[in-house]
Amino acid sequence: MTVFRKLVAAEFRTALREPLYLFFTVIFPVVLIGILGAVPSFREPSDDLGGLRVIDVYAGIVIALSIGMMGLQGMPTVLATYREKGILRRLATTPVKPVALLGAQLTAALITVLVSGVLVFAFAGTVYGVPMPESPVAFVLAVVLATLGVFSIGLVIAALAPSGKAANSIGLLLFFPLMFFAGLWAPRQVMPEVLRRVSDYTPLGAGERLMHEAMTGHWPNLLSVTVLLGYLLVFGAVAAKYFRWE
């Protein structure tokens, strides 16, 4: 366990020394909330959003953004680079299993997402009066499920990409459509019915739906939970099958 903790700590150290990486995963979601909240009409309750304000809805969306950036860009790039540089191979010659490094990377990413989420709510709550989720447990569950679903897709990217650069490009290609369905450009509530249906089956769309529902005190709906667990199982299995250590 000490070894695993040290590996996680090493992942954090590396991440903290990449200012850009830290900015996009932790600071950027908060900045985005800050900018959106500066628009007066976004602070007015809206009938389209079931009485919520745009800024309330975006609290969940920017957390989805953080998950998307970690899971589709940060983590796959880091893991593919580790393989490319022979770090996983070197680890295979030590008593530590390379899978421990994978686990450490996932753990560090998950913690980063959670920290980002806490910062978003702390900031949005203090500055714009965004309420805490009415079902905090359901909200955390939504974040964890969405993270697991997106991360398993990220693992498949890391497994199949021949290099760190390739992983980054593939991740970027997936990032924009998945963020679209999470409602980054237009919240799910204002999407046309067809798009919302599609969104229900995308990992960040399903994750955002769960977060949104938790905001208004609903328990997780079965469809979204099933969709996210499905991503975890299917993509997790593909990643396990195709992940190469060298």
Binding site: A10, R13, T14, G86, R90, A92, T93, P95
Partner: protein
């Protein structure tokens, strides 16, 4: 009992047979060299021993285990060619992290000192020079206090001083009973460090002996002595000892070829005749010569 036993190892990559029927045994406490030209199959061979590659055929045991046995990981240290570390971790962080992997690690501060890395402990891996990265890589192979260390191209990229320091360090580990397998194409390194050497060429072991044995085995050509006599001396006098086989002259310089204790024979003749040999040079066959004969190729570092 041998600590590493390789029997009839073969490994193929696609159409290429990288290693063909390689067999050798490494005895406890020795430095075993694997010498050969680039692409001869040296790295493939040791990577099979290190459990990183699966042989197509043949049998390998390391300390009585199959190479992939996880129990070996704490007992076998490996330094790989071209394997990097996390760019943003400092030397100190890497050493601390890797020593945490092992049940009975070496003192990383001492290891860093021995490898001349103490000044660089706060430097991140990405900012190290090639030689410093190499030295860190060697440190990581030894950090777990292994019983066996496999070192692939130990001193490639090191400057002459660092190379000599590394050789001392490796000798020190041998003196403490560590068995070392050294892949190299540096003749001087093999000659200085190795107790025995397997010469691998085109995937096959072409010779296996001590460095001196290899030289002897392959040297058809004898030693040569070159000197300038302080006074003229005739060929008859010089060729009297049975060790002398040939004499040639170039201006006032004489080159005497022969076998056995040639130097003693020639200097005795000179002494009896009251002649001093000026600018005396003794030329013996080297491991380099042996290598060229065995592989039909010049070693990569030979100046010619």
């Amino acid at each position: 009992m041998a600590v590493i036993e390789v029997k009839n190892l073969s490994k193929r990559y696609g159409e290429t047979l990288a290693v063909r029927d390689v067999s050798f045994a490494v005895e406890p406490g020795e430095i075993f060299g694997i010498l050969g030209p680039n692409g001869a199959g040296k790295t493939t061979t040791v990577e099979c021993v290190a459990g990183l590659r699966t042989p197509d055929s043949g049998r390998i045991t390391v300390l009585g285990h199959a190479p992939r046995d996880r129990a070996l990981r704490a007992q076998v240290g490996v330094q790989l060619q071209e394997s990097e570390l996390q760019e943003k971790l400092t030397v100190r962080e890497v050493l601390e992290l890797y020593s945490a992997f092992y049940p009975d690690p070496a003192d990383w501060r001492k290891l860093a000192g021995d490898l001349g890395l103490t000044e660089k402990l706060r430097t991140t891996f990405g900012k190290l020079s090639g030689g410093q990265k190499q030295r860190l890589s060697i440190a990581l192979a030894l950090i777990g206090n292994p019983r066996i260390a496999i070192l692939d191209e130990l001193t490639t990229g090191l400057d002459p001083q660092a190379r000599r320091d590394t050789w001392d360090l490796i000798s020190g580990f041998r003196d403490r009973g560590v068995t070392l397998v050294l892949v190299t194409h540096f003749m001087e390194e093999a000659e200085r460090l190795c107790d025995r050497i397997a010469v691998i060429d085109r995937g096959e072991v072409v010779a296996l002996d001590t460095p001196a044995g290899l030289v002897e085995q392959t040297s058809s050509q004898d030693q040569k002595i070159r000197f300038r006599p302080s006074a003229p001396i005739s060929d008859e006098l010089l060729s009297a000892p049975p060790e002398v086989t040939r004499i040639s002259r170039q201006g006032d310089r004489i080159e005497v070829s022969g076998t056995g204790n040639l130097l003693h024979a020639v200097t005795s003749v000179l002494a009896v005749n009251g002649i001093v040999a000026v600018e005396l040079r003794l030329e013996q066959a080297t491991l380099d010569d042996a290598f060229v004969r065995l592989t039909g190729r010049a070693s990569e570092e030979s100046p010619s």
